[in-house]
Amino acid sequence: MAEKIGRVPVREQDPKVRAHNFEEVCYGYNEQEALLESSRCLNCRAPRCVQHCPVGISIPEFIAQVKAGDFAAAAGVIARDSSLPAVCGRVCPQETQCEGSCILGVKGEPVAIGKLERFVADWSRANGGVPVEKAPSNGVKVAVVGSGPSGLACASDLAKLGYDVTIFEVLHKAGGVLQYGIPEFRLPKERVVEPEIDSVRALGVKIETNVVVGRTVTIDDLLDREGFKAVFVGSGAGLPRFMGIPGENLNGVFSANEFLTRSNLMKAYDPENSDTPIFAGRRVAVIGGGNVAMDAARTALRLGSEVTIVYRRTEKELPARAEEVHHAREEGIEFRMLTNPVEILGDEKGWVTGLRCIRMELGDPDASGRRSPVPVEGSEFDIPVDEVIMALGTSPNPLIAKTTAGLETERHGCIVADEAGATSRPGVFAGGDAVTGAATVILAMGAGRRAAKAIDEYLKTKE
């Protein structure tokens, strides 16, 4: 029997150093490390990892190619199912998907599938990318609303099938949440995001920025006047939630969306090359426990603030990726669990001076089976802060539903769509966060791909 080796550790920037810069935290595997890690894969006959990948990447097959040293072939295997591998290798919650189901994880540590995917994607990009097969153009126009993960995935699949695809993006840069939401230190823009978007463009997909679908044009305009035969809505979940507690409109209170958009999309973290201001308090409280909360907290830390994450449940319930929580702790972010804000305190001029919180304890399990936190009466206490960032989740923007006749939504504003993405309006498909509410990059990509297939079938039967 071959000598058992443990999971190959990945090299990272020293936490003390990276707490002061926006360079990528994780360096990823080099060739030797990737070869060694790939040798751990058992190449299972019924691979559970594939079943647990929302886009169904042939994981053992690509890892076998890595093991054989044929990285280009490995990239080819991944490209069959994913158009954004360098992104997913970095931001997927592997521990609850592929790696979470890896058989090696039962007794030891699972294969580092995410890190291997990232290695293959980065190697491939540095070595000219993957040649793709593309059907000859059929001249049929399809519009995609939003250039985030679901829109990009849908557009590239449709382009490969020969469709003439135009993506309409409301912001001035393509990428959606990859651009405005996820920070540079986790997902470098110029080095990773932009080349992946360029590879979608290389398939012939046009991206028109600065178009507010619902205002600049409506979906009806696109279908009736501009000759598009179908539309995919991947407009995401961009509307930030607030708590509705007193003091939320004080100066110094921000949504995580605002804080991160200023830093990521507008590059406010780099004042030499950006005109957009950002507020860096001395002491910052970030409310929430998801990836967005971790991103906001770690961004604030890098801007020089002392940061506390305030979360109403316990460590176990934190919805963020395990790696993000681990990194945040290493960098010196303080966590206050079982704590819920009840009021934001301000001075006479209306600027934040503190956060009044109440301690929580876990009560009986709720409908979802999670033990819901209940306040401990009389346990209020104040945390002195001069900035509060709300990372409580987002919901879909109602604009498209409001301006498209016959497009059904449910009460949270999510567009109603079936598994394949078909909405109540013939010819209009939807997927990603716009349908599910805020979720992950990979789930949105999966929805985009299924919709591309459904759009192809719809247009073929229509002919």
């Binding site: 001035h172 044009v217 969306n257 605002e258 958009t261 005109d275 001029k349």
Partner: protein, 283 residues
């Protein structure tokens, strides 16, 4: 894309530009705004739409130099291009939804302060064309800061000018002029005030007792302008609203102006620093 086809300095610190943006021009309505970026590193700056020419595919914007970013916008010359122009954003004015027949003869009072003159223009024009009775009170610090006077005169029944120093028209504030008009027995079905936040607040206080409905257009801070960031949030009727997607126009009597005024100062120190650097860079 987004080429400046015409530029005119209306005063030494206020410039008017016509910008190529065909999709935007085709969709724009009175009351809406747009966002520009003057350069690749540029901030997203919201500006009201002063006019639009659907045929030519251009929109007209008016910018006043008040900080680093507006200074950069005004420094762009005819023939140059904006990096980005996006819109129309926000909801059109309520009267756009009303049938033309209902607008004919309806009596409107507009109160415009400083740069607020620019967004009043397309509204007055729209209403005037449909037979509404339009009176406009325009205020500025001094006569040489008054803008678009001929254009404004051409889209209303009466144009009343006020300057703080009396260098043109009535010497005093717009609120005084409004009081005089009402004392003269003038009657209005609807009032609209657009200008500095503090002016809108005082117009609201002036009209509060009269029972005349008043709409204000709020120029809050914004980043994306599409409902994503919540930077523009304000309290209207005790509820938090986003000016970018639910506004920019609101019932003035419901707006918490003191909060809105305070929230405008959020980035004051950073903005002053940036403008200071920007001026150093030019010398």
């Amino acid at each position: 894309m987004y080429q400046i086809t015409k530029k005119k300095m209306l005063t030494p610190s206020i410039c008017l530009m016509e910008v190529e943006a065909p999709r935007l021009a085709a969709a724009a309505q009175p009351g809406q705004f747009l966002i520009v970026r003057a350069r690749p590193e540029g901030e997203r700056i919201p500006l009201t739409i002063c006019d639009y020419d659907r045929k030519a595919g251009t929109v007209t914007i008016v910018t006043q130099i008040i900080g680093a970013s507006s200074r950069m916008i005004c420094a762009l010359e005819e023939g140059a291009c904006f990096t980005d122009v996006v819109g129309p954003l926000g909801c059109p004015s309520d009267f756009v939804e009303m049938p033309d027949a209902a607008l004919a003869g309806r009596r409107y009072l507009f109160v415009a302060g400083g740069l607020g003159t620019a967004p009043v223009y397309p509204q007055a024009k729209y209403l005037h064309e449909r037979g509404a009775k339009v009176d406009i009170v325009v205020g500025a610090k001094t006569a040489d800061l008054l803008i678009l006077q001929e254009e404004m005169a051409s889209v209303c029944d009466n144009l009343y000018v006020c300057t703080d120093d009396g260098s043109a028209g009535h010497a005093g504030l717009v609120t005084e002029k409004v009081k005089l008009l009402l004392a003269d027995g003038k009657q209005y079905d609807q009032a609209v005030a657009i200008g500095p936040m503090i002016m809108m607040k005082f117009v609201m206080l002036t009209l509060k007792e009269t029972g005349i409905p008043l709409v204000v257009s709020l120029n809050t801070l914004m980043v994306d302008g599409t409902g994503m960031c919540g930077c523009c949030r304000i309290t209207v009727g005790g509820r938090v609203r986003f000016a970018c997607v639910e506004g920019p126009e609101f019932d003035a009597y419901e707006v918490d102006f003191d909060e809105a005024l305070r929230r405008q100062t959020m980035y004051k120190p950073q903005e002053q620093e940036a403008d200071h650097k920007c001026k150093i860079g030019r010398n």
